[in-house]
């Protein structure tokens, strides 16, 4: 394998506060270019977004069923993106992770993110699981048949952008106003919803744990079984 493509085992975890979606896109583009030039190591951004619906490449009409005016009246922006997958919602209280990393196998990258999220959520006593075996519409993390985290990535020149979003303490109502991931009938949930109370240590403790779990899961992916 080309040496420059060898993934690094060091990951810079950067905790940001609330970043508007378009600003985060620009930041990712910048980091992607710098990662490509090997100016920075693999980097994980952890942040929150103001309320926004983002549409992936496979978005279809009808996913935003109530009409754009309805959503804008509630202060929710709508942004098209170049990630895979369909429409999803981001908002305060949801932990968004953007790994900007040099990777080899893109599906292994999806599974690594799932494993990391499962590990973090299970730590709070919630039975989270991956449903990768059930087909591509089940990518993400679930508690029974309720979806707790969404995943969608884009890879260009071996460098990833976009990533995952875990519902921690966010309002779940905006998911009811769309067809999340194009999968109608899916119920969304959050860590808080599953626990019946705010997770111990609040949002920040979860974000910190998520960063640790991601680094551990990435280590696991690189270590031959």
């Amino acid at each position: 394998m080309d040496r420059s493509h060898t993934p690094t085992d060091r990951i810079d975890v950067r905790r940001l506060s609330t970043v508007p979606y378009r600003d985060a896109l620009a930041l990712q583009a910048d980091l992607q270019a710098r990662r490509l030039a090997d100016e920075i190591p693999d980097t994980l951004l952890l942040l929150e977004h103001p309320p926004v619906y983002t549409r992936g490449r496979r978005s279809q009409d009808g996913e935003l069923a109530l009409g754009e005016d309805f959503y804008r009246a509630r202060g929710i922006e709508i942004v098209p993106t170049d990630r895979g997958g369909k429409v999803t919602y981001h908002g305060p209280g949801q932990l968004v992770g953007y790994p900007i990393m040099r990777i080899g196998d893109v599906i292994a990258h999806l599974r690594t993110m799932e494993a990391a999220i499962v590990a973090a959520i299970v730590d709070y006593g919630v039975e989270a699981r991956s449903r990768a075996d059930e087909g591509i519409d089940y990518t993400g993390v679930w508690v029974a048949d309720r979806k707790i985290a969404s995943i969608g990535v884009h890879v260009s020149r071996g460098i990833t952008t976009h990533g995952f979003a875990v519902n921690v303490v966010n309002d779940l109502a905006p998911f009811e106003w769309i067809v999340p991931c194009g999968l109608s009938g899916v119920r969304m949930t959050s860590v808080q919803n599953e626990l019946g109370q705010e997770p111990a240590g609040g949002f920040d403790a979860f974000a910190e744990l998520m960063g640790r779990c991601f680094c551990e899961a990435r280590q696991g992916e690189l270590t031959p079984a």
Partner: protein
């Protein structure tokens, strides 16, 4: 001309979707420039040109193709054509269309002798709607898709459309006078070899369900320390109960299998490890008892037959009648393919019954991460010893396959004994 095929973006990738062409058909592309956005699973990827030349797209945006299928071709500089001619994309499109003599005659006269040529496939790809599987079978058999009438939605050519004429016309791939291309060679060779040794082979791409079964069963057998425990159960009292319930309500009488499901659910409630799962080095003990019932799909179709396992949620709290109604409805939804994913997941234990086929007993493979699966044989009259006398009784053998990482022999035996007790004295099932 160089073939560009659907890239394998991951070891586990089987097919990909062309989300968007980043370069137009006929446009000049440079090495390293993005050609297309390709999506697999929830990941999209920019696919870059690995050479310079003129792009000729074959697949259309939105097409989903198997890994290795032709999506485009890139032409080199031919006939000493100076690269400077193709600097402007618009100009490049014109000059290069003219500079590719092979493309034109093939499009206008698709002779049967070069069905396998990629250029002709390219021409087909632009006009003919066909499933990836149909395309593959057509290529392997040398069938010209443009000669077929599609029976799928919107005239799309599906597997059956390709298979029908293929049986009439033997494959003639690789026999053309033209130079076989690299892409055509392996397919042609494999058809020939198989034909010589084992007669004509039909290569079937498994459905997603069949692929999932293959993966999970192989993983289960390879990684789970299985052991089976068998027990014979006297079903005479269940037979009487069934006759009684049938008299009361002929339509809704529970089957023996419904009784087995109910008995298992009650016993599972008392044996949390049998109702648990082994995952990531830990025991998962579930608060709910959800019993999956294996149902054959298209059992009479030797190609497409598959297996799905709809789930009776909270089977321990449901009455026998509810279990009977629900199982019947779920099996019906499986057969008309209207079942929804939540109804197929969440099982904590599985019951698999082949008694209706006359199978006396068998051993099933644990469906991970569940701890066990019960294989149920036929209820039949058997010679048994009762009070020192050999008598005929209706009996049934069941075999519990266990994951020894979570469910051990003694616990599993106690569980099975409880199931037997409940079925031999079935009054408890009706409570």
């Amino acid at each position: 001309m160089t073939d560009i095929v659907m890239p394998r973006l991951s070891d586990t990738m089987e097919e990909g979707t062309i989300l968007r062409w980043l370069k137009r058909d006929g446009e000049h592309v440079r090495r390293g420039e993005g050609l297309a956005e390709i999506e697999t699973d929830k990941a999209s990827m920019t696919y870059e040109a690995d050479r310079e030349g003129v792009l000729q797209t074959v697949a259309r945006e939105g097409d989903t193709l198997a890994v290795g299928e032709l999506i485009a071709r890139i032409g080199g500089q031919r006939d000493g054509q100076p690269p400077s001619l193709t600097q402007s994309p618009a100009e490049g499109a014109l000059s290069d269309a003219a500079a590719q003599p092979p493309a034109m005659p093939i499009e206008s006269s698709p002779g049967p002798s070069n069905v396998e040529s990629p250029a002709n496939r390219a021409a087909q790809g632009e006009r003919v709607k066909a499933s990836p599987l149909a395309r593959r079978i057509a290529r392997e058999r040398g069938v010209d898709l443009s000669t077929l009438q599609g029976s799928g939605p919107g005239g799309r050519i599906v597997k059956a459309d390709v298979q029908a004429p293929a049986s009439a016309a033997p494959p003639h791939a690789g026999t053309s006078g033209g130079v076989p291309t690299e892409a055509a060679m392996p397919a042609a060779a494999s058809v020939k070899d198989v034909t010589a040794a084992k007669g004509e082979a039909t290569v079937v791409e498994p459905s997603r369900t069949q692929r999932t079964i293959a993966r999970r069963m192989a993983a289960s057998t390879a990684t789970i320390p299985h052991f089976p425990l068998s027990i014979e159960i006297d079903m005479a009292r269940c037979g009487e109960l069934r006759a009684e319930l049938k008299r009361l309500s002929p339509e809704e009488a529970p089957t023996y299998n419904d009784m087995v499901v109910k008995a298992c659910a009650l016993a599972l409630h008392e044996h949390p490890r049998a109702n648990g799962g082994y995952r990531d080095g830990r025991f998962e003990l579930h608060s709910r008892v959800n019993v999956g019932v294996a149902v054959a799909v298209d059992a009479d179709d030797p190609i497409s037959s598959a297996l799905v396992v709809p789930t009776v949620l909270d089977a321990d709290t449901k009455s026998l009648g509810e279990i009977a109604r629900e199982t019947r409805a779920l099996a019906g939804r499986v057969r008309d393919a209207t079942i929804t994913p939540p109804e197929l997941s969440g099982a904590t234990f599985t019951v698999s019954n082949l008694g209706m086929y006359g199978i006396r007993e068998f051993t099933a493979i644990v469906n991970p991460p569940q701890a066990a699966i019960l294989a149920v044989g036929a209820v039949e009259p058997r010679a048994v010893v009762r009070d020192g006398q050999v008598v005929s009784r209706h009996a049934m053998s069941v075999t519990l396959s266990c994951d020894h990482r979570i469910l051990y022999g003694a616990d599993a035996a106690l569980f099975l004994a409880r199931v037997r007790e409940l079925l031999q004295e079935p009054a408890a099932l009706t409570l």
